[in-house]
Symmetry: C2
Subunit: 179 residues, 2 copies
Amino acid sequence: MRADAQRNRARVLEAAEEVLARDGLAASMRAVAELAGVGVGTIYRQFPTKEALYQAIVADRTRRLAERAAELAEGGDPGRAFFTFFAMIVEHATTKKVFVDALSAAGVDPKAGSPDLRGPIETLLVRAQHAGAVRPDVGMPELLALLSAACLAAQQQGWDPGLRDRALAVVFDGLRTQP
Amino acid sequence: MRADAQRNRARVLEAAEEVLARDGLAASMRAVAELAGVGVGTIYRQFPTKEALYQAIVADRTRRLAERAAELAEGGDPGRAFFTFFAMIVEHATTKKVFVDALSAAGVDPKAGSPDLRGPIETLLVRAQHAGAVRPDVGMPELLALLSAACLAAQQQGWDPGLRDRALAVVFDGLRTQP
DNA sequence: CTAGAATCGGAACGCGTGTTCCGGGTGGGC
DNA sequence: GCCCACCCGGAACACGCGTTCCGATTCTAG
C-alpha cells in the first residue's frame, strides 16, 4: 500500500469519526471529504460504500466498549459494574451520534447489529442478578429496550449531565431488586 | 370556500395522517398526494409548506391527547391516572411516527413544542405526587426525558405490546415512591 | 532519474426531495 | 345555461445526496 494512500485512509477515518459523531448516519460523504482535506473519490477507494465507512467506525467503537465491559465483568461489585456500564453507554450516546443510529438500526434485527456488545452486556446482567443487585424478572429484551431508549433520548435531545444522572437514577431504581 | 376544495382538504389531511404515521417527518409530499388521489399543487394550495401540513396534524393529535389528560386529571385515583396517561402516550408513539418526531424536535427547545401537553402532564404529575403515588424528587425535566425516551425507543424499534409493558413496568417502579 | 502504475481530486450522473408555475378544467352566483 | 373566478394536476426547477469516472498528479521500484 502506497504511503500517501495510507495517510489519507487515516485522515478519512479521523474526519469520519468527527462528522459522524456530530451528524449521525445523515452525515454526507462530501462533509467527511472536506474535513479530511480529500476528494470524495479518495474515500471510495478505501471504503466501497458509505455504509462500509460507517460500519468500520462503529465496529471499532463497539469493540472498545466490549473490552471495557469485559474489564468491568471481572472487577469487584457486580451491581456497581452493571450500572456503571449502563451509564457509560448512555454517556457515549450523547456525543457519538452514529453509535446511537447504528444501535437503533440494530434493534430491529436482533441477529445483526452488535452481537459483540450483546454478550458482555448479558454477562454483566446475570452477574448483577446473581448478586441480588438487579431484579431477576428483567431479561435481555427489556434491558436492551431501556438502554436503547436512554441512548436515543440522550442523543436526540441533548441531555445535559445533570438531567442524564437524574433520569438514569429513576431507571436504575426500577431495575434494582424490589423489597 | 369551494366545495371541491373543502373535499380535497379533508382528503389531504386523511392521507397525511396515514402516511405520516407510517413514515414520520421523512414522508414525502408526493406520497401524501398520491394516497389522497390529488396533485401536489393541491396540497400547497391549502398548506404553504410541508412543515405546516405536519404541524396541523400534530397539533390536532396533541389537542386530543390534552383533552384525554384533562379527563384523567379529574377522575379518581391520581396515581392510576398518571401512569395510564404515560402508557397511553407511549402506545400512541408506536403507531404515530410523526408524533414522536415532533416530540423529539420539541424537546430541544422547552419553550416551543407542545405547551398544550406540558400543562396537563404537569397537573397529572403533581396530583400523583401529592397522593404519594410518585416520588417527590422527580420534576418535569426528568419526567419528560423519560417519556421521550420511551416514545423514541418504542417507535424506532417497534416495541411489541408485551415488551412495552415490561419495559414500562421497570420505569414505573422507578417512578413510584421509594420505601 | 525515469518510467509506469497506483492514487488523487472533483466534475458529472442519476435519483429523490420540497416547492413553484401555469394551461386546462370545474363550481356556483346570476 | 353561462361565464369567470377559482382550483386542479403534474411537469418543471433547484438542490443535495451517494456514487462513478477519468485526466492530472504523485509515489516508488529499478
